[in-house]
């Protein structure tokens, strides 16, 4: 639509059938996964090759409507899920603990902290901060929603359900940034990280409980957020939070 106004455009296509239907002036279909239009993190050479190929479409005379296929797949990590370290589990260690899931969750967040701090130092940046909630308070904030409470909104002029979503993404980012700072785990695949987060951590367990609580909420925005935007669909199916045919 920008081209209609006199400026040349070229776009990456992640879903080829969509580009075939929409027919933008110039697109480069890539076989990369959703969320990675340049293919591979921390691989400047690969990213630059994709970018140059996209830019070169601007010099082609054979339009309108160029849809090219990028010939290379993104480089994949050889790491296996099994090598990924799990955070220390603190399950039900105290018999007088009234909420062992919460205790385990908060301890797990603390246990990840040294690796998050190393990640921050090594990379010189973090992607956390969308929710505006300090890491030390993130667990308490999310867990309050698990128990059906609605804590004070950390963001002004933003719906509380959106603040919750941003807190959840901050939590996931915290875990991923931390675990990929551990030795030999910088290049782990998204699949390995997803399986680790949802199947091996207490945080994953807590987020599934969060979805269950939100799905029962009378607050429609919270219900919508919980049932659609906290976990990927395949995770919700796997954990029986939704049933096949519901979506």
């Amino acid at each position: 639509m920008i081209e209609e106004h006199g400026i040349s455009t070229a776009c990456i296509s992640l879903i080829r059938p969509h580009s075939e239907r929409i027919k933008p002036p110039r697109s480069l279909w890539v076989s990369f996964e959703l969320g990675r239009p340049l293919g591979a993190p921390n691989d400047a050479d690969f990213q630059k090759k994709v970018l140059i190929t996209l830019l070169q479409l601007l010099e082609r005379p054979d339009g309108p409507v160029i849809l090219d296929d990028y010939p290379l797949d993104a480089p994949e990590s050889d790491e296996d899920v099994a090598v990924l370290s799990c955070p220390v589990r603190f399950d039900n260690q105290a018999t007088d603990d009234s909420d062992p899931l919460k205790t385990s969750f908060l301890r797990e967040i603390q246990a990840m902290r040294p690796w998050y701090d190393i990640a921050l130092k090594k990379r010189g940046r973090t992607t956390l901060g969308g929710s505006g909630i300090d890491i030390d308070l993130l667990g308490e904030y999310i867990y309050a929603y698990v128990k059906g409470a609605e804590p004070d909104n950390p963001l002004q002029d933003v719906d509380p359900s959106v603040s919750l979503k941003l807190a959840v993404e901050d939590l996931k980012g915290y875990y991923v940034e931390a675990v990929t700072a551990q030795p030999g785990q910088e290049d782990l695949s998204s699949k390995a990280l997803k399986e680790w987060l949802w199947d091996k951590t207490t945080a994953g367990e807590v987020l599934v409980e969060l979805i269950k609580t939100c799905s029962q909420s009378e607050n429609e925005k919270l219900k919508m957020m919980g049932t659609h935007f906290i976990a990927p669909m395949d995770i919700m199916l796997k954990r029986n939070v939704i049933k096949p045919g519901m979506m």
Binding site: I2, E4, L38, P41, P64, R125
Partner: protein
Amino acid sequence: MADLPEIDQKILMGMEGPTFESRPWVEGPPLNQRRVALITTAGLHKRGDRPFQMGQPDYYRVIPGDTRDGEVVMSHGAASFDRTGYQRDWNVVFPLDRLRELADEGVIGSVADYHYSFGTPLTMPENETVASELSDLLKKDNVDAVLLFPV
């Protein structure tokens, strides 16, 4: 696409998306004279900017050309696309560092002063309004090439 869970494939293939009757085609100078801007749909914005929210009329965020990794956060609503790549390197979503390098190497002419980010789906009338507005802004920035990156 083939690597996606079956349910995601079904949802994505069920999305019709818009169609357009016109086939615009704008040519320009050689690459090494082009001024290039990036547009992403990843819901990125400067830390401290208002997060993206459905139903709000502020459809896009501005990412200044001198923005550095760590100065942006992502407030896209979807849980279906991978964020673990972005969490390690923002260039996998928004290749501003790579674009600067290409400008330094003389592959492109220059990098725009402003880039743009979207994080919520827009209706067709909204798309048309925003495309017109952005195009005016891009022209004032002397941009003659725009690269679009979905997630």
